[in-house]
Subunit: 364 residues, 4 copies
Amino acid sequence: MSSTLGTLYRVTTFGESHCKGVGAIVDGCPPGMELTEADIQPQLSRRRPGQSDLTTPRQEDDQVTIYSGTEFGRTLGTPIMLLINNKDQRPQDYGEMSRIPRPSHADFTYQMKYGVRASSGGGRSSARETIGRVAAGAIAEKWLRLTYGIEIVAWVSAVGDIEAPAVDLERISRPEVDATLVRCPDGAAAARMEERIKEILAAKDSTGGILTCVCRNVPVGLGEPVFDKLEARLAQAMLSLPATKGFDIGSGFAGTRMRGSMHNDLFVTKGGQLGTRTNHSGGVQGGISNGEPLVFRVGFKPVATIGLAQETVDFDGREVILEAKGRHDPCVVPRAVPIVESMAALVLLDLALQQRARRGSCPV
Amino acid sequence: MSSTLGTLYRVTTFGESHCKGVGAIVDGCPPGMELTEADIQPQLSRRRPGQSDLTTPRQEDDQVTIYSGTEFGRTLGTPIMLLINNKDQRPQDYGEMSRIPRPSHADFTYQMKYGVRASSGGGRSSARETIGRVAAGAIAEKWLRLTYGIEIVAWVSAVGDIEAPAVDLERISRPEVDATLVRCPDGAAAARMEERIKEILAAKDSTGGILTCVCRNVPVGLGEPVFDKLEARLAQAMLSLPATKGFDIGSGFAGTRMRGSMHNDLFVTKGGQLGTRTNHSGGVQGGISNGEPLVFRVGFKPVATIGLAQETVDFDGREVILEAKGRHDPCVVPRAVPIVESMAALVLLDLALQQRARRGSCPV
Amino acid sequence: MSSTLGTLYRVTTFGESHCKGVGAIVDGCPPGMELTEADIQPQLSRRRPGQSDLTTPRQEDDQVTIYSGTEFGRTLGTPIMLLINNKDQRPQDYGEMSRIPRPSHADFTYQMKYGVRASSGGGRSSARETIGRVAAGAIAEKWLRLTYGIEIVAWVSAVGDIEAPAVDLERISRPEVDATLVRCPDGAAAARMEERIKEILAAKDSTGGILTCVCRNVPVGLGEPVFDKLEARLAQAMLSLPATKGFDIGSGFAGTRMRGSMHNDLFVTKGGQLGTRTNHSGGVQGGISNGEPLVFRVGFKPVATIGLAQETVDFDGREVILEAKGRHDPCVVPRAVPIVESMAALVLLDLALQQRARRGSCPV
Amino acid sequence: MSSTLGTLYRVTTFGESHCKGVGAIVDGCPPGMELTEADIQPQLSRRRPGQSDLTTPRQEDDQVTIYSGTEFGRTLGTPIMLLINNKDQRPQDYGEMSRIPRPSHADFTYQMKYGVRASSGGGRSSARETIGRVAAGAIAEKWLRLTYGIEIVAWVSAVGDIEAPAVDLERISRPEVDATLVRCPDGAAAARMEERIKEILAAKDSTGGILTCVCRNVPVGLGEPVFDKLEARLAQAMLSLPATKGFDIGSGFAGTRMRGSMHNDLFVTKGGQLGTRTNHSGGVQGGISNGEPLVFRVGFKPVATIGLAQETVDFDGREVILEAKGRHDPCVVPRAVPIVESMAALVLLDLALQQRARRGSCPV
């Protein structure tokens, strides 16, 4: 299903960058939970453009309105439609420009796939599409927090080749992450990252980066082998985000270099339950959560829109020089933090409901 | 859906390591294609255990039988049931052993999730589950080859910290890959990998590794934004395989260190069509194939079953020393080659049919 | 999936009777089709309340706005969000009344299922929920008409025990149907139906009725055995409508009394193609359209809301007398005509796209 | 999904009439339930041909084997593959006969849809396909009985124009139904039905009939508005069976003639719970079970295969006389009894699991 994600908590997003609005329908939200726009707005605000001079200056308030599915501030268990109007609604034929597919953008592939494409901005491939996901994710996150005490925190762990040192996975919090503009909880690394981004902005270029995300208090038993294993669903969710090129969990690609005797997570008792001494598994074994923190990384490529001149060809194969006008995000990762958190929440709630269906009681 | 993958080409697998048999139902296979067991067996044979002294000595023929969905050697467009009997059918209570969850195996999580688990082997989390996928993938691959000329080739690009040099993506072939026991097309690297695996086997330990896979001649337009983008579906497919910890595509995690001006794939004309000068995108832009080769990597952790003694606890929290008996694969990646190829084929065919539904003609 | 219908043309509806708005997201609409609100509004207007003194006087304009998925009046192939604002937005606790589940309404079952329910009107079980379906169906219908020349016409064939005589299935048209307020193309029967409805309205009672629907020019080959056979999907679609109690196709329940020698539809040649002499099959054989007109019936129960006093009990089991205030539709079938047509269109388009995926060309 | 039914309890069937075998994969069966072939065989035996001289003499044992998903007689929560070998495996080109599409059979539509079809018997449109459904249904039924005490009983309520009188829905049982060969619990009606069937058999003709089915002890709350309402899912399930032409629930088509004041089911208290005085709703309100018995009817057309000569045309449009050889069921409804019961079980279990996911406890 292209624009719908999930089996029991199902999110269907809509909206292009310059149509009337963007948003989502959330179907399958458990009934009886307190919910108003105030539960959703904070993550939308963390995601919106124009938060600092590190990001795109496009001005959008991104105020969400709940159109259905709640009454007197409680969910009814029916579909929740979430609408965020676009301030910038200007579909227009860019003339000459529309004849040039931007390198490493979706212009060419959308045109070939659909035979038509949105004339301006990224259309459906724009980062604005993620607004519906974030709104839906905020609802999921609230339920997970109230029901299991789940905490989801993502942060910028690399910008270009600047890597942040490891953080304390048990304690890292959103306020710590938001303490710096680049959303890297290590102050020294954050300072270097900011400097790097400004330098790249000045050079009309862009950079990639990596997010790390931890989910704490995930109950044992989430993940549906064999095709909806927890890491499989997370990987799909993360790689469905614009500009992502990689996902790994626990020891990830680095773990491929280890020996089994070092990598295996030996069992120990933790507060009367079985836990593991190490967490190379990243909280998942056999595709199922094991009670340890989920830890995964998402790699983002450098932003495709750059001000530097690019030698490319137009749709007819004629050689052209392309220079993007205006200002764009030189680095997308700081704003991707709430998006990655939201996608994790969507996956976890959907799998939690499936496990509850199986075992019939709570906790799963 | 836990044991079903796909929207239009749907594969449902069944079978534990020691039940009567394993296999799959393929639903949605296009009608009228020539198909017999001989089309499926080669990939199953590349995947089966006991191929060399690098792998587990479990003896299984893994002969497939087509039970339905074909007649006179042609597909009917109806469900194809593929059955492979298990030679080793010995569900038995291992007594003491069954009280000890093996570290970094699925024993603990299956027991917690389902309240019951298969008594021997890995049950459903065993690599035998992948047999149904490989059989279904061989059918998909045949259709993709006949219809679009698609070629899918995977190989071992790393064993532990031994990395193979880059290969020629336009020419690499299965015979080249199969020329060495470790399925690494670079002879020198292959020799070092073999030596390493033997050394690790002798040490009763295990190692991880990385597969790289290329898909050539993929038509432009495959991938269904936003949640079924091509890379998202590939990531889910690969991370649903046992022992996988990471997936990246094109430049992947390494690309996060690049600048946009280096990373962007500039358009050029290739044989009258638009192509790209470089392929950092790995064949996909905006979640849709762009006609360049798909290139992605899959990271496998070191095998969890090792002969070395491990200090762990049993289900009741009592400290025990666990030593695995018998012989096991010290490195899973050589046998994973046909599995990764098969998963790629399943994803591509499903997305190709969806695109054909949209545009109504062939090629997509 | 509760609020989503379809595999390739997927409709997700939202909205309660008294929330901010109702509507739908259409995902999977083929790209490049001309589409504006003017294509959708006519069916919405045929469905809206207050069209005559036979129907509920609730005043709603039901003006649709396309929020996404089109540009310059053409579909982009991306999700189309259709929003219709509710004029009457007054969720309020009815106090005493909310303690009494209305007989044969959904008050009791919603309360038990969800533990909460919309305080006023029918919430999600209201007929207003069908607005999103009609909007989505109008889009589907346009595509089917442009691509295959499919014509879908429904009409009132019975009100209570007043049955209309058979119509000419090859010629019946919407203008003929709309010529009378009750939407029965037989003038004499229509007059008796109107009289009956007025009499029942005066008696503060209600009546049921039957719709018949024909779909002409459906290409051969639509329907996906075994669970998504054409009649199975139609039956689900129709029985998902409020107040429906029955569905039959072709000879239907009456055909159960026939002998095979009379019932079998013998083949003949029609314009160079195979057709059938009779059409007891109702256009479908083995779950697949055979090129003859699809003909089916949908039975609607009498409206549950009546002004007559009813002896019932409240949620605590206390005996009460319930008398509905205000005016309500005494008979729902005239307004159900565009709804049934829309559901047929949703099913046909979804199945047409699936068949096109299989065979790769047009017509299917 | 064509050969897969269900969201959480998912059944995928396979098999043609003359391939190696038929059966199903059941995915999502709750773990820990005792299950062996002995739980499944009784319903298969009630369904198999050759039970009496009223039915087809094709000899098939229809012995089921569980290939996976259980161990030591308990379900593992993993996919259960159920295989029933075909004794009669003789795909052969019937030569001349294969050029003549049998009237009101699926020969023509399968050929047109798939471009190929099984050469003998009905292929996938054969009643043998229902074997997998019955096997999967028997498992579902056991779980429903153990968990909720649900009882599902279907019977023949009409053969041609012979209608059985109403039965006591609270008490009707399978032994009563099986007491007569035609599976009509009313002895007098059964005798007339048998006589009629023999007469029709002698005349080389066939007849249709109606089944009625009751499901008792269904908990309140099953059914997922708006598209997976309980009656919608039942209607789809029943109309996906071969030879079905109609479905209605509760008062059904007859109820369309009633007035609301007679039709409404007034609430009363029953054992401390709310129930209804009458049950015109057939156990469902607003698409959700209300705790009263589910009651629905399924109409079957007369069997298409008859010995009488039929004037029809072959695939090339040449006029031919077709006379079916051999013996066939003159009336399918007695053997359809366990099939209808099984489909009801599949729907109820799938919806019960969805409701359990929502509310997290048992009973739903």
